[in-house]
């Protein structure tokens, strides 16, 4: 099956033998973007979380055929050292990662959360951020999520147009 999709702003046209191949492996092994992680392959841990058309998706359980014609964002496309995404900025400020393996998934889930809800309460965070971190960095993560939301609100207030649109 021919799949056309945009990943981190780049167009790709791929010939995929099995259209049910998880998007995770297409991103990791075909496009060589290793930031999206394999943790369980059962949509249980969230390490593979990325965005499809702005929505958080667990890519180990997302057949690539559903991504046809869509925009995919991975941790590599979220931001970079020169221009970190508010979530990445907050993660740097709070020195969140330990082993770091699950962190891209958490950051993608958080980026989705603050794009829908730029002022999440602790309860909102508890409900939406349900990935698993074995190093248990949750304590700092919660602080970083509040900080990321704060940075996001500052960013939105600079560009009032975005407030109406909600998502960027």
């Amino acid at each position: 099956m021919k799949i056309a999709l945009q990943v981190n702003g780049e167009h790709h046209s791929l010939e995929i033998a099995d259209e049910n191949t998880p998007l995770l492996w297409v991103v990791r092994d075909l496009l060589n973007l290793k930031g999206t992680k394999f943790g369980c392959g059962k949509a249980a841990c969230g390490a593979c979380t990325l965005h499809v058309d702005g929505e958080a998706v667990r890519s180990c359980s997302y057949a690539v055929k559903f991504a046809d014609g869509k925009k995919v964002t991975t941790i590599e496309g979220l931001g970079n050292e020169e221009a970190p995404h508010p979530v990445q900025q907050a993660w740097l400020e709070h020195v969140v990662p330990q082993c770091g393996y699950c962190q891209p998934g958490f950051m993608m889930a958080t980026a989705a959360l603050i794009s829908k809800n730029p002022k999440p309460t602790d309860e909102d965070i508890d409900k939406n951020i349900i990935n698993i971190c074995r190093c248990a960095t949750y304590y700092r993560m919660r602080k970083a999520i509040h900080r990321a939301a704060e940075l996001e609100r500052q960013r939105l207030s600079l560009t009032p147009k975005n407030i109406e649109n909600g998502e960027e």
Binding site: P97, G100, Y138
Partner: protein, 721 residues
């Protein structure tokens, strides 16, 4: 090998490991600064650095940009070791943190640790040797600078990676350029802690940016040109031995390159991960199994009294102990625990004619390398084990047959092969935290003081059976030092006490799990101490303090207890439907005391706040020591409240997160207060000690809330509602 040709005083610059524009400086110690008896080391779990410090191996490189690259023989699995080592080295090298990078030492560099990365020993073990190495290299650079500048060495000054002589300056890179022979001076005197610039500061992690921007740093991320994907069939049944496999269906599956049948396993090599998995599932394996194990079988094997006993601690006279009616006795249990680290085990292997290169997440670089060399029939220096960042360690990567399997598959197809475990295989082929049974007995005197105390711990093996503790050492050691970690009585003022470790060999692999026996042993001992305090009608913290002996170790323990009481405002009563729970432990010479604030909401045990006072000695990185405490506390909450593996019909279960319940964001306390006392002038253990008190502290709080003394982990399962 070249090492025999190198003079004791001079050696040549070695190759730059294939990197370009790099000046590689190997250095070594003249004298081994750590001559401690191994037995003594094991006794305190104070493990010395066991790497080779007598031959030149690569520790430091200097790049043309004047960046020093430290080759670490310890691996980075989140514990922050790379950052601490960088701080320690920068101190003696007189460079800024921005001028140092840390990489994993590849085994071919010769900088290989014979022990492992584990047991909370990395920073403490390298505290002296690494600074001596750095100081030695600094002096070598100064000496060369003096020669190049044609001035006396003593007239030179040094700052931020540059050497100054009056108005002339040379960077380390300029000094090292073109040098092929180095003079090695006697080991210089080290800088006193009071003059240190980086040690003690909350320096950001050196791997922070890589981990925030998704850099491909883990074993799972390794790739090589022309790489294929492998998958190995693993049994879901305990004790199953591979006999044979019918590969006829799998052979013709899409993407399959080769099915590899060995004497001990069968694996697939395919074009993609999913194709390898699908083909693997089509292989029909004949397994030889013995018994259809159930949880009840394991529990009954484990009862104290059934294994082999070994007295690990004894003081005073406990002989009349059992005769007395007034003996208090309790029995505690802990379940099988899974590592559940998020990065599955795996490896990328490229086996060529006379050499092999293996990229993998491992805590035992040398053992992994040696096992692979053995299996391939290669010499050890023909195998280059390239350690990667670990997506979690926790003891899971001390046994690494996955490296061998990847190498065998690669050899069979003549191309690089990457293979790794599925999550189900991770859960079923883990080297589990062994389940434990504890029987505690005590007798109180007329004043409510403890007169006699006994702890029996029965556990599956932790250290025994691991490649790090050879079988020959077992009869010498007697008891499994991992199983009894945390199992000794830390209250030395009790007149009569003893601890007995009962060894049980379980039918599945058990091993190191962050903090080894500490979590379960402290859960049992400190819950029981609370029972005794309640019986004696004493404040639980004061009760502990009254039984601490007057020596250095005792003083440090007393200090953390007093500190945690003071900072938490500990009260032995309910406030706003919350109870405070207290517990303390000493692990690898690091005492730690915790107070938790707990309530029960919708029948769930909820931990709101944890105050933790710990004395790990000198703190190298304030921020990362706190991070380790925070993580260990929440991991301890997870294990104490929720986690358990069962044995059903011969298989370990569950096999996925969710059914294997772990703490998530919503279970994390909203307040964690860490207070670090520094009661020793060298760094001690950090990564594991704070896992000790948490389970008992929660159980002790639950007792105050409900009157229920829960003596079985996971606590949430056994809460009567």
């Amino acid at each position: 090998m070249a090492k025999n040709k190198i003079s004791r005083r001079k050696f040549l610059v070695r190759g730059g490991l294939g990197t370009i524009g790099v000046l590689a400086v190997g250095t070594y110690l003249f004298r081994n600064p750590i001559r401690r008896q191994i037995a003594g080391a094991l006794n305190t779990a104070d493990t010395p650095y066991l790497g080779d410090t007598s031959t030149p191996v690569i520790w430091f490189e200097i790049t043309e940009e004047n960046i020093v690259i430290l080759h670490s023989p310890k691996v980075e699995m989140g514990q922050g070791t790379f950052t601490g080592l960088a701080q320690m080295a920068a101190e003696e090298l007189e460079i800024d943190m921005s001028q140092i990078e840390v990489v994993h030492a590849q085994s071919i560099s010769g900088n290989v640790d014979s022990f492992a990365t584990g047991g909370s020993t990395s920073i403490s073990a390298l505290w002296v040797p690494l600074r001596e190495l750095a100081a030695t290299m600094r002096e070598m650079l100064l000496q060369k600078a003096a020669e190049k500048m044609e001035v006396e060495k003593s007239t030179l000054t040094i700052s931020q990676g540059k050497v100054y002589s009056g108005s002339t300056e040379m960077s380390y890179a300029q000094i090292a350029e073109g040098v092929v022979e180095w003079e090695v001076p006697d080991t210089p005197k080290l800088k006193p802690v009071s003059q240190m610039k980086w040690v003690g500061k909350p320096v950001p992690r050196v791997d922070l940016a890589d981990k925030v921007f998704g850099a491909p740093i883990f074993g799972m991320d390794a790739t090589l040109p022309n790489m294929l994907y492998g998958s190995v069939v693993r049994s879901s049944k305990i004790g199953a031995v591979y006999k044979d496999a019918d590969i006829s269906k799998a052979e013709n599956m899409p993407g399959v390159v080769k099915i590899v049948k060995e004497d001990d396993f069968v694996g697939v090599v395919a074009q993609s991960f999913t194709e390898a998995e699908n083909a693997k599932n089509a292989i029909e394996v004949t397994w030889e199994t013995t018994k259809n194990w159930q949880t009840q079988d394991i529990r009954s094997m484990l009862e104290v009294g059934k294994g082999t006993p070994f007295v690990i601690q004894k003081a005073g006279d406990v002989d009349d102990f059992l005769a007395d009616d007034s003996t208090v006795e309790s029995s505690y249990w802990s379940p099988i625990g899974a590592h559940a680290q998020i990065e599955p085990n795996g490896a990328l292997a490229h086996v060529e004619k006379d050499k092999a290169t293996i990229y993998m997440s491992t805590q035992v670089v040398k053992i992994s390398r040696d096992e692979i060399a053995n299996r391939l029939g290669l010499a050890k220096d023909q195998v280059n084990l390239v350690p990667t960042f670990l997506g979690g360690g926790f003891g899971r990567r001390l046994h690494t047959p996955n490296g061998i399997q990847a190498a065998v598959l690669s050899k069979a197809v003549g191309r690089p092969v990457k293979c790794f475990f599925s999550r189900k295989e991770e859960f079923q082929n883990d080297t589990f935290r062994p389940p434990t049974h504890h029987v505690l007995k005590a007798k109180l005197d007329n004043d409510g003081g403890i007169e006699t105390f006994e702890h029996n711990v029965s556990s599956g093996d932790v250290a025994f059976g691991s490649p790090m503790v050879p079988g020959i050492a077992e009869p010498i050691l007697g008891a499994d030092l991992g199983a009894w970690r945390g199992g000794m009585v830390q209250y030395g003022a009790i007149p009569n006490y003893q601890a007995i470790s009962w060894r049980v060999q379980l039918p599945f692999a058990t091993s190191w799990w962050r903090s080894l026996g500490l979590l379960a042993n402290t859960f049992a001992i400190e819950s029981f101490m609370d029972e005794l305090a309640v019986k004696a009608k004493k404040n639980p913290a004061d009760f502990r303090l009254a039984h601490i002996q007057k020596d250095d170790r005792g003083e440090r323990l007393a200090n953390v207890i007093k500190k945690v009481v003071e900072v938490s405002g500990y009260k032995d009563e309910l406030v706003n439907n919350r109870a405070m729970g207290f517990a303390a432990s000493t692990d690898a010479n690091t005492p730690c005391a915790q107070v938790v604030e707990v309530s029960i909401e919708h029948n769930e045990i909820k931990v709101h706040k944890v105050t933790c006072a710990m004395d790990p000695g000198l703190v190298v990185n304030l921020d990362q020591v706190k991070a380790q405490c925070e993580g260990a506390i929440i991991m301890g909450i997870s294990a104490s409240l929720f986690e358990k593996m069962e044995v059903e019909d011969g298989a370990l279960t569950p096999t996925i997160y969710g059914p294997y319940q772990m703490a998530m964001m919503k279970h994390s306390p909203k307040e964690i207060d860490i207070i670090l006392l520094q009661g020793a002038d060298a760094p001690g253990a950090v990564g594991e000690p704070p896992l000790g008190p948490i389970g008992a502290a929660i159980a002790n709080a639950v007792f105050r809330l409900t009157g229920q003394r829960i003596r079985r982990m996971p606590l949430q399962d056994h809460l009567q509602v």
